[in-house]
Structure formats: C-alpha cells, structure tokens
Symmetry: C2
Subunit: 380 residues, 2 copies
Amino acid sequence: MKLVCAQNHLNAHLSLVGRAVASRPTHPVLANVLLSADAETQQIKLSAFDLSLGIQTSFPAQVEEGGALTLPAKLLSDIVSRLPEGDITLDSGSDNHYLTHLTCASGQYQVRGMGAEEFPELPTIEDGERTQLSAEALIDGLRGSLFAASADETKQVLTGVHVSVQADGLEFAATDGHRLAVVQTVDQDDAPGAKTQSSFDVTVPAKALQELMKMLDRQGSNSVDVQFDQGQVVFEWTDQRITSRLLEGQYPNYRQLVPRQFAHQVSLDRRLLLSSLERISVLADQKNNIVKMTLDQTSQQVTLAVDAQDVGSGRESMPAQITGDSIDIAFNVRYLMDGLKAINTTEVQIQLNTPTSPAVLSPIGSLKMTYLVMPVQVRS
Amino acid sequence: MKLVCAQNHLNAHLSLVGRAVASRPTHPVLANVLLSADAETQQIKLSAFDLSLGIQTSFPAQVEEGGALTLPAKLLSDIVSRLPEGDITLDSGSDNHYLTHLTCASGQYQVRGMGAEEFPELPTIEDGERTQLSAEALIDGLRGSLFAASADETKQVLTGVHVSVQADGLEFAATDGHRLAVVQTVDQDDAPGAKTQSSFDVTVPAKALQELMKMLDRQGSNSVDVQFDQGQVVFEWTDQRITSRLLEGQYPNYRQLVPRQFAHQVSLDRRLLLSSLERISVLADQKNNIVKMTLDQTSQQVTLAVDAQDVGSGRESMPAQITGDSIDIAFNVRYLMDGLKAINTTEVQIQLNTPTSPAVLSPIGSLKMTYLVMPVQVRS
C-alpha cells in the first residue's frame, strides 16, 4: 500500500472513526483502524469497529499502490493530528511486517500495524428492510430524545432509543424509567421512491445514535439510507457508514403512559424557566434535587422554590399563561433542566393533572415533542 | 450587614478568593468566605484562607449597614455566577442566625453562614522585611520557574520556588531533582524609595505563587508590596492581598549545578523544536519518554529520534547553528517540552558538554533564564 493524502483529511477522518475504536479491546486488532486504499477509485477507506458500533468513512487520496492493513488508531491519530499541514505519504512497504512508513515535511515515522485479514468485517445486511430517512428529521428526533435514555448499562433496552418508522414519519422514544421523551417528525420529502412504505421499529444503542447525530450534524447530508435486520442496523450516506447492533427485548409500551387530558396548563418562556432552574439547582443539589413548582392562576405566575435545610433556600417567580386552578407540584430539578435544554423553541408548555401524576413538557412551535416527567412526592 | 453590589463584581471577586478555600476543610468555617462590609469606605472585603494560602480582595459597593459574616464559598459562588447581571442586595438581618438574604431581579435566596469571629485571621507581618517588587518582573520570573517545581508533596522544599531578592533584581529557582529552572530579572524601576536595599531569600509554595501570577496577570499592577518574616510572606497591591506560609528547610545550592563552560552549543527555532518534540512524544510516551538528540556539526542539523520497540519509531530533522563537534545525547522528552513552553523567544540555545552531564537551555533574547536538564543515559 502506498499513497499520498492531505494531513487535514487524514486527521479529520481518523478522529471520526476513532469513536468506534474499542477503549478496552478484547482483541489487539480492535485497537486498530483498518485502512484500505483503492488505486482504481483513488480513495482511502477507514474503518473502526468495537464489535457493537462500527464507523466507516472514505476520502480521496493519490493511491499509487492499493492494499489494506490496520494501524494503532490512537497512536496514528495522535501523530497525524500534530503534523504540519501538507501532504503525508503512507507506505507499508513489501516486507510483510506491517511496518508502515509515514513521511511528511517534518520527518519520518514508522508505525507497526497488523494484517487486514485479522480485522473483523463490519456487519452488512443481506435480506433486511431498507428505507431512506431525511437527515434533518433524524437529527431533530435524536436531539429531542437521546438525553432521556438510561446511562445505566444494566438497564438493557432502556439504554437505547426506540425508533418507529411509519409511512408518514418517524417516532423516537427514550426513557430511563423516570422520564420519557418522544419526538415525532413528519417526513417532508415526498420524492417518489425516496422511501419505503414499510413500517418497522427498532431499539438502537444511544452511543451509536450519538455518533450518528454528530456525524450528520457536521457533514450535512440530505438523506440517509437505513438497512436493518433482526440484529443490526446500518446507516449510510455520502462516503460514510455507521453500523450498530440492535438492543434485544421488548421496548416498554410508552404511548399508554402519556395522559390525553390535563386539568392544568402553563405556557412560559423556556430560557427564563431554564435559567431559574439552574440557579435553584445549586441549592437543590445540596439536598435531594427537588424543586417545588407553584402555578398561581390568580397572579399568572410560576414560582420555583427550593429548601435545602441547614444550607439555605431560594425562590424565583416568573410570568406565565396559566389555565386551570392553582397547583403545587415537585420535580427532580435535573429532569426538568434536561428536557428544557433539548427543546429549542422560545416558549414551552407544561401540562399537569395532579401532584402525583405525570407532567408533560412540550415545545410551542413546529417540532412535535412530548417530554413526560414523573413528579416527586414531598411531605408538606 | 446590608449592602447592594453589582453581580459581575461579586462574581469576579468570589472566584478570585475561591482559590484559597480549603477543598477538604479541617474546620467547617474554612469552606466559607469572609465578607466584611465597611459603611465608611463603601467597600466589601472578601477573604478566604486554607491555613496555608490566604487571598483577600476588595471592591466598591453601596454599604447601608456595615458588618461581617462568613458564607459557604462554593454555594455562594455557584448561585451568584448564575444570576442575571444587575444589582444584588445582601442582607444578613439582625436575628443572629447568619441567615443571609440575597435578593436580585429574578428572586430571593437565603444562605446560612457562620459568624465572622470563627474565621481565622489572615497572617499579618509585624516585624518583618519589606520590599517593593515590579509586578512585571515577578510575572516573568514565575512563568519561567514555576513549572519546574516538584508536584510531589513529600518533596517539601522542592514543592516551592526559591526567590532571592538582591538590590539589583530578583532570582527565581525551582527544581524537582531532575531539572532546574533559574530566572534572573533586573528591576528597571529606579524610583527612589521604591525598594529596599536588603537582600533576602525565601521559598514560597508553588500553589501560592501560581495564584499570585494569575491575579497579577489578570489585573495588571505596577508594583507589589512584599512583606515576610520567618514563617510567612504577604504580597499586597491595589485592593488585593495574598498570604502564604513559607517552606522550611535549606534550599539546594543550585548555582553550583550549572556548568560554566560548554563544549557544544546549538541555536535553533523554539517552535520548530517544540512541535517536533510534541510529535516525537506520542511515540516516546509508549516507551520510556526518551528522545535521542543528535547535533550534526557538518550538516548544521539537529535530529530528534525515538524508538518505541514493537510500536514504531520516528525521526525529525531541523536546521540549527551548531558549534563544537557532533554529539548524541538523550533526554526525557517531557522535560525538554516543559522548558520550551516556558520560554517565549523565537530562538533558543542549548549548551552541552557530554552525554552524561547537564544540558542548559536558554532563551535567546532579553530574559535571563537558565533551564538545566539532566540527560538520560541510553545503552546504544
């Protein structure tokens, strides 16, 4: 393998695939990145795979001699990121010891690799479902749901985002058992053949979707090709490909958790509420993270209060449009903040029934998002 | 105590003194900041003290009622930093429970404090030496020496910077046993009475000097008043004051370590050398941190080489002005990088005698700095 490529290209693409390099690899080759150079297409393909998440990306290079080998991902990325801008020559020689020579204006490096044949193949899907999704809808859906997935690895199916594809749009859902975020995106793209009529649902690990969101956000693509079977999902677009295993098990029937009618409703400025909660959280963190929220129908004000005994207390009020009787309810301040951060509209709406039944936050605007939070019971 | 002050003032000064708040306080009051409000001068003074380092700072406020009390430093700072810009009212009331009311446009907070009488007084110096130092000289000296002090708390006197004040300037020295940084600054300020003729030397904990450097860097002051006795040093300038205990014990006689004559000398571009070392260090980190440096008198080139067996190797060359015969010498790559980062001139000079005797790095320019590094012996 012999090729010349630009330092900034190699650097950017190494850091892209780096997210799929195993941090504690079960086999030495999984700490490596697979480089495949194709003399015909004049492209380099980089692949990394931790046996759950796989990322593959391609970019143009002057390929003098095609070939494939694997190199230590972190070491290579650390060196390349520090090299001066300009051309880099990679030459794996012909001695079969996988000692790759990297030459640039400032000097020469040799890095010892391993054979490409030791690198596991990224999953491909033969007889699966296939659909096209709009990148924008995917990004919106993920941004509004990913944060609510559980970070606790023992929670299995709850560590993923449940994605349902319908003919007319997508539904994303994530829950950690304490709160639930559901986003519905309507696919605006009516180009014939652009998408399938088949409907399906899968649960994809949050980690893979975080990478998908970052890559789509950075690179901008119109549509993403999605293939999946019972065990794997593959997202593919211009020169990029993410594969992930799917999470097994029945996803909770979350739709039945969302109340259809509400006795109380409040609309207010999202940023005002979020910044108040951020201050209140300083004191709430000292105790049990509980913030008390009072909707005052008469004064049309929402009041947030926190009481961390022995430490201090705080109280903030802000104007709001309140319908229904006045009510007191308490929440985990972190859950409210998480939801408000994932929303990007000016105003939000909160709907309630009783101090012990779920509350629903939603943006006032285009995106259809439902964020359900269980209140906290406080003794008064 | 009752006063009104600007959110941005209170926030900035709380974060200044925050560096002297004990992270694991031996007494609860040491987790607090002391607020003293003076109705006559219309100033608030904030003090924090971890029993080694003390920081005191003042700023103007509308003081309606003078007084003093202590409040939890981190909690207060966390709340104040999140408040909207504008006026903040602090009112400790008269109920003697140290419950302080903080009122701003967005709401009210109550924070429980402790009495000022429980807070230990910051050290003052009665019968000590006193001198004035130029802030610029202090900053230069600290920037060129602090990095070489030992971070290992068991190394006692080596965890500090040794400062010698002479009639004509300052000398700063720091060493961790492997390398030594010495900076001499010449005091340009010849204003009569501006400084004392007395000469003295003290060893000040690096942590206190780091804070001193940051504060001087940020606020700009012309001269700093320094007082000290056998146990304490006090730096004082416009509305600011840092106190620190001194380190006890004899500081090593470092001057005798610096060779006076050299057989080899090289001058080269500092940034070129530093960026090469940064790349080389990626591979050196994999092994024993050793970089081999070759001065080639014939080609007038410096070559850096690293060999991390089983992983890879690297080699970079750069132009240099070399006098003396060609020589090979090896160093810990971290030590070289640390020294080059502390220097800010375009060119540096390295002087050597043998591969086993100390090498001296120095900037080519105004500042008189000597950075001595012991080479590493390598079997070849």
